[in-house]
C-alpha cells in the first residue's frame, strides 16, 4: 500500500523543483553575471530604498485588507442567493479583471472615477464643481480592489460552497439567525481559507507596477517592482536587481508567515453532499441587504469594465476583426494560454496531492518544512518579477541556443508558474475535502491507483479543475511581461498587440482589442462552466 502511494510526495517535489528552478535558476544566473561583470557590490540599502519598501508593504497590506473585507459580505450574499438573477453571469464577469492588462484597467477606472469620468460628469450635472482626484494612494487602492475583490469573492464563495449542506439543514432546523450562522458555520470555514486568499492578494499587490506608477500621482508611490525594473532595464545594474528581488522575496515571506500564523488549519467535515442548497428562507430585510450588497459589488466591478466596453465599441471593430494580424494574435494567445493553463493545472495538482499526503501522514501538529514549501513556497514564484526570470534565463541560454527560440517555452513556463497560486487555491479545498472523506474508505475497500483516481478523485475534482483551468488561462491571456521581455515579435499575443497600438497613437484600436480580449475571456468562462455542467449531467445520468 505504502509503495503504491509513496509516489505522491515525489510529484509534489517535481512540481516544486520546476518552480524553484524557474526562479532560482534565473536569480543564480543573474547573480553570477553580476559578480563576473564586477558591478560594485550589491544594493546599498539607502533611505530611498527604505521608503520604497515601506510604501510597497503599506499599499499591498491596505489593498489586501480592503479587498478581503468587501469580499466576505459579497460572497455571503451571493451564497445565500443561489437563484439571484444573473448570478452565474456575475461570477463569470468576476473572472475578467484578471485577464485585463493593467493599463486597460487603469483607463477603465479613470473613465469612472477620473477627472473626466462618469463621477465627475455626475457632479457637474448636479451643479457641484468638485473634481474627483484619485491620484495617490486612493487611486492605487481603488484599482487594486477592482482587480482583487472579484477574485477574493470567488475564492471566499468557493470555501462557502465547501460547507456540507447538512450544516445548512441543521441551521435552518435550529432556526439560527444571520449572526449565528455567520459566526458558527461560515466564519470558521472562511477563516481557514482566509490566510491563503489574503496571501494571494497580498502577493498580487506587492508586485504592482503600472497601476502604482500611473495612479500614484508621483514618485512617492514607488514599489520595489519599479525599482527592480529600473535597475535591470534602465541602469542595467544586475547586482542591484538581484538584491532587490531577494529583498522583495524576503519581505513577502516575512509577511506571509505572519499571516499564516493567524489561520488555524482544521479538518473538513465528512458529509458527502457538496451542492449549495440552502434550507433557510432569508427574511425580507436580509434579502434587501443582500441584494444591495450584490448590486454594489456588481456596480463597483462592472462600471470600470463598462467604461472599457464603451470605449471598445467606439473602435472600428469590423476593420479590426478583418485584420489577419488580429486573428493570429487571438490564436497565439489561445494556444499559449491553454498550454500554460494545462501545465499550471498539472503543477498545482501535484502540489495539492503531495501536500495532502504529507499532512495525512504526519504525526505532529505543525507542518514540516516540505509540507510548508508545497503550500507557501509554490506561491512565492509570483513575487519574482517576470523581467528577472526572463533576463536570467536569457543569460543562461544565450550561449547554448538562440534565446528567441526559447521565447514560447519561457512564456508558457512563466505563465503556468504565475497561475499556480490561483489554481492551487481552487483545487486544494476540493482535494482535501474529498481526501478526508474518502481516504479511509478507500483504504478499507482496497481501492488504489488508477481505479481510485477514476472512480473517486476525478468526479470530485472535475468541477474545480474546470474553474482552475479557466482562471489560469484568463491570467495567461492578459499577461504581457514575459513576452515583452524576450521581444520576439513573431509571438504576438493580444495584449502585446494592444499595447503596441496604444504605444503608437492608435488608442481606439487598443480599446477595441481590449474589448475583444474581454469577450474572449468571458467565452472561456462560459465554456469552462458549460463543460463542468455537462460533465456533471453525464455523471448524474450514469449514476441514475
Amino acid at each position: 500500500m505504502i509503495a503504491i502511494r509513496s509516489f505522491r510526495p515525489w510529484v509534489g517535489a517535481c512540481a516544486l523543483a520546476f518552480l524553484a528552478a524557474l526562479a532560482g535558476g534565473a536569480l543564480l544566473s543573474l547573480a553570477s553575471e553580476a559578480l563576473r561583470g564586477g558591478t560594485e557590490g550589491f544594493a546599498a540599502f539607502d533611505s530611498y530604498l527604505w521608503r520604497v519598501a515601506r510604501f510597497t508593504l503599506v499599499q499591498a497590506l491596505l489593498s489586501m485588507l480592503l479587498a478581503v473585507a468587501f469580499a466576505i459580505p459579497l460572497a455571503r450574499a451571493l451564497h445565500e442567493h443561489p437563484a439571484f438573477p444573473g448570478r452565474a453571469l456575475i461570477l463569470r464577469l468576476f473572472a475578467l479583471p484578471l485577464a485585463l492588462p493593467a493599463l486597460v484597467a487603469v483607463l477603465g477606472i479613470t473613465s469612472i472615477y477620473g477627472r473626466n469620468g462618469l463621477l465627475a460628469f455626475a457632479f457637474s450635472s448636479l451643479g457641484m464643481d468638485t473634481i474627483p482626484n484619485i491620484y495617490g494612494l486612493p487611486g492605487i487602492l481603488l484599482a487594486h480592489v477592482f482587480f482583487n475583490l472579484p477574485l477574493a469573492t470567488r475564492l471566499v464563495l468557493a470555501s462557502l460552497d465547501s460547507i456540507p449542506s447538512d450544516y445548512w439543514k441543521l441551521a435552518a432546523q435550529l432556526g439560527m439567525g444571520g449572526w449565528a450562522r455567520f459566526s458558527l458555520i461560515e466564519w470558521p470555514v472562511i477563516r481557514r481559507n482566509l490566510s491563503g486568499i489574503a496571501g494571494l492578494i497580498f502577493m498580487l499587490c506587492i508586485t504592482s507596477f503600472t497601476i502604482v506608477l500611473t495612479l500614484g500621482g508621483g514618485p512617492r508611490a514607488t514599489t520595489l517592482e519599479v525599482a527592480i525594473y529600473q535597475s535591470l532595464h534602465f541602469d542595467f545594474d544586475i547586482a542591484r536587481a538581484v538584491s532587490l528581488t531577494l529583498l522583495q522575496l524576503g519581505l513577502t515571506i516575512a509577511v506571509l508567515l505572519l499571516l499564516g500564523l493567524t489561520g488555524k488549519p482544521a479538518d473538513e467535515g465528512f458529509s458527502l453532499q457538496t451542492t449549495t442548497r440552502r434550507f433557510e428562507r432569508p427574511g425580507r430585510a436580509a434579502q434587501c441587504v443582500n441584494t444591495a450588497i450584490i448590486l454594489l459589488g456588481l456596480l463597483f466591478v462592472g462600471l470600470p469594465m463598462g467604461g472599457t466596453v464603451v470605449s471598445g465599441l467606439g473602435a472600428d471593430l469590423a476593420r479590426l476583426m478583418s485584420e489577419s494580424i488580429v486573428w493570429r494574435a487571438i490564436a497565439t494567445s489561445i494556444v499559449l494560454g491553454a498550454a500554460a493553463a494545462l501545465l499550471s493545472l498539472a503543477l498545482s495538482l501535484s502540489l495539492v496531492i503531495a501536500r495532502e499526503y504529507q499532512q495525512s501522514r504526519r504525526r505532529t501538529v505543525s507542518p514540516g518544512l516540505f509540507e510548508r514549501s508545497l503550500d507557501l513556497g509554490a506561491s512565492l514564484i509570483m513575487v519574482v518579477p517576470p523581467i528577472v526570470i526572463g533576463a536570467g534565463w536569457f543569460i543562461l541560454s544565450r550561449h547554448a541556443i538562440n534565446p528567441f527560440s526559447l521565447a514560447p517555452v519561457m512564456v508558457i513556463g512563466v505563465n503556468a508558474a504565475m497561475a499556480v497560486p490561483f489554481a492551487f487555491r481552487i483545487l486544494r479545498p476540493a482535494w482535501d475535502t474529498a481526501a478526508s472523506r474518502h481516504n479511509r474508505l478507500c483504504l478499507q475497500l482496497g481501492i488504489t491507483g488508477w481505479d481510485r483516481l477514476r472512480l473517486i478523485d476525478w468526479p470530485a475534482l472535475r468541477l474545480p479543475m474546470g474553474v482552475a483551468f479557466a482562471f489560469a488561462m484568463a491570467l495567461s491571456l492578459g499577461d504581457l511581461g514575459t513576452i515583452a521581455l524576450f521581444g520576439n515579435d513573431s509571438i504576438q499575443t493580444l495584449p502585446f498587440l494592444l499595447l503596441q497600438r496604444m504605444g503608437s497613437y492608435r488608442t481606439q484600436d487598443a480599446a477595441g482589442l481590449a474589448l475583444i480580449l474581454g469577450v474572449l475571456c468571458l467565452l472561456l468562462m462560459f465554456a469552462a462552466d458549460r463543460g463542468a455542467a455537462s460533465l456533471a449531467r453525464q455523471d448524474n445520468a450514469r449514476d441514475g
Binding site: Y48, L107, T110, G114, R115, N116, Y135, F209, T210, L213, T214, L215, G216, G217, G218, P219, R220, V226, Y229, Q230, L232, H233, F234, D235, F236, V335, L336, A338, A339, L342, L345, A346, A391, F394, I395, R398, H399, N402, F404, S405, A407, P408, I412, L453, M465, A484, L485, G487, N488, D489, S490, I491, L499, Q500, M502, G503, S504, Y505, R506, T507
Partner: protein, 339 residues
C-alpha cells in the same frame, strides 16, 4: 489521464508552431540581421517599407529582431556581448551612445554621412542618425484656451491645469523632460521641479499611459513630441491637440544606428547604413515613425508637418554628460518630487 495526453499534444503543437521560426545565423550568405525596437517593425512602422526597399537593391534578406525600446536594445546587445547576432543595431538615441560606445561592441561606420542633416549638426564616426524629434508639451485646445508659452510659465502657472508626465526612471520621454528642465534651469532644476510638482497630475511608467490619460481627458497637458499633432492631423483629421512652442527652446532626441564589431565583417552592414541616409529609407520615417527625417526624402513632407512647432532653440546635452550625471539628476528629481 486525459489531461496529460492533452498537455503532450499541445506541447507538440506549440513546438511545431514555433520550430518554423528561422533561427538567425550570423552573416549567412546575403543576409543582414538588424536589431531594433518594436514600433519600428510594427506593420504600420517604417520596418516593412525599409526592408522591402533595401532588399530590392542588395539582393539579400533583412531580418529584423525587435525588442521593447531603445534602452532594451542596448541591454540586449550588452547581454549578448561579442557573440551578438546583430549586424546593425538601429534605434539607440543620443542619450545612450556614450554607454554604447563604452561597450566596445560597436564598429566605426566608415561611410559618407554628408547627406545627414540634424539641427545643431551631428558628427560621429560610429553612430549614424536616421531621424530626430523634439520633446514638447501637447495641449488639448478644447480644454485649455491659454496654454503656457514657456517652460517657466508651465512651472509657475496655475497648478489646477494639470500635466501628465513620464517617469525618468523607466522611460525615454521621462528622461527627456528631466534633461530639458536641467538644460533650462541648470542648478535650479530641483527648485523648478518642486514648483512643477503641484501641477503634475501623475507620473506614468511610459509614454502610452501618459498619452492614454491625456486623450481620455484626464489632463489638458501631456509631455510628448512636437510631431504628435501630425499624427492626429494626418491619420485622424483631428486638430484639437497642439504642441506648444516654449520660448526657452526644445530638447532634441536623435535616433541613431551603428554596426557591431561582428557586423563590420558583413559588407551588407555598411551598405545598409549608407542606404539609411538615402531617400528610399528616409521616405518611410515621417508618417511611419512620426519623427523628422535625418536626410532628404523623395517628396516634400506632408503639409501637416509645416504646421508643427519649429523650436526657437535646440537644446541637447552631450551623450557623455548625460551618462555621467543621469543618476545624480534623477536623484535630484526624486528628492524634489517626493517632498
Amino acid at each position: 489521464m486525459r489531461p496529460f495526453e492533452t498537455i503532450v499534444k499541445t506541447a507538440a503543437i506549440v513546438t511545431a508552431l514555433f520550430a518554423v521560426i528561422p533561427l538567425g545565423t550570423a552573416h549567412a550568405e546575403g543576409k543582414l540581421t538588424v536589431y531594433t525596437y518594436e514600433s519600428f517593425t510594427a506593420e504600420w512602422g517604417p520596418g516593412p517599407k525599409v526592408k522591402q526597399a533595401f532588399e530590392k537593391q542588395c539582393a539579400c534578406t533583412v531580418e529584423f529582431v525587435a525588442v521593447a525600446d531603445g534602452v532594451a536594445l542596448l541591454n540586449r546587445v550588452k547581454l549578448e556581448g561579442e557573440s551578438t547576432k546583430a549586424d546593425v543595431v538601429l534605434g539607440l538615441d543620443t542619450n545612450l551612445t556614450y554607454e554604447a560606445r563604452q561597450t566596445g561592441l560597436f564598429a566605426p561606420h566608415g561611410i559618407d554621412t554628408t547627406a545627414v542633416s540634424i539641427p545643431g549638426g551631428y558628427k560621429d564616426d560610429t553612430f549614424v542618425p536616421y531621424d530626430y524629434g523634439y520633446f514638447a508639451v501637447i495641449y488639448d485646445s478644447e480644454k485649455l484656451k491659454t496654454p503656457p508659452e514657456s517652460l517657466k510659465e508651465l512651472v509657475e502657472g496655475d497648478p489646477k491645469q494639470k500635466i501628465v508626465i513620464e517617469d525618468p526612471r523607466t522611460s525615454t520621454p521621462g528622461l527627456g523632460l528631466l534633461l530639458w528642465v536641467k538644460s533650462v534651469y541648470g542648478d535650479k532644476a530641483g527648485e523648478a521641479w518642486a514648483k512643477l510638482k503641484d501641477r503634475v497630475l501623475t507620473v506614468t511608467p511610459g509614454w502610452s499611459e501618459a498619452y492614454g490619460l491625456f486623450t481620455k481627458g484626464e489632463a489638458p497637458l501631456v509631455l510628448s513630441y512636437t510631431t504628435s499633432p501630425a499624427y492626429h492631423l494626418i491619420a485622424e483629421r483631428v486638430d484639437r491637440y497642439k504642441a506648444i512652442s516654449f520660448s526657452e527652446g526644445h530638447y532634441l532626441q536623435v535616433e541613431v544606428a551603428a554596426q557591431t564589431v561582428n557586423g563590420a565583417k558583413n559588407p551588407l552592414s555598411a551598405q545598409f547604413l549608407a542606404f539609411m541616409t538615402s531617400p528610399a529609407f528616409q521616405d518611410a520615417i515621417p508618417e511611419n515613425n512620426w519623427m523628422y527625417p535625418a536626410a532628404k526624402t523623395t517628396d516634400a513632407l506632408n503639409p501637416a508637418f509645416e504646421t508643427l512647432v519649429q523650436p526657437v532653440k535646440t537644446l541637447i546635452f552631450p551623450s557623455e554628460e548625460v551618462a555621467k550625471n543621469r543618476k545624480a539628476w534623477i536623484d535630484e528629481w526624486l528628492a524634489a518630487m517626493s517632498l
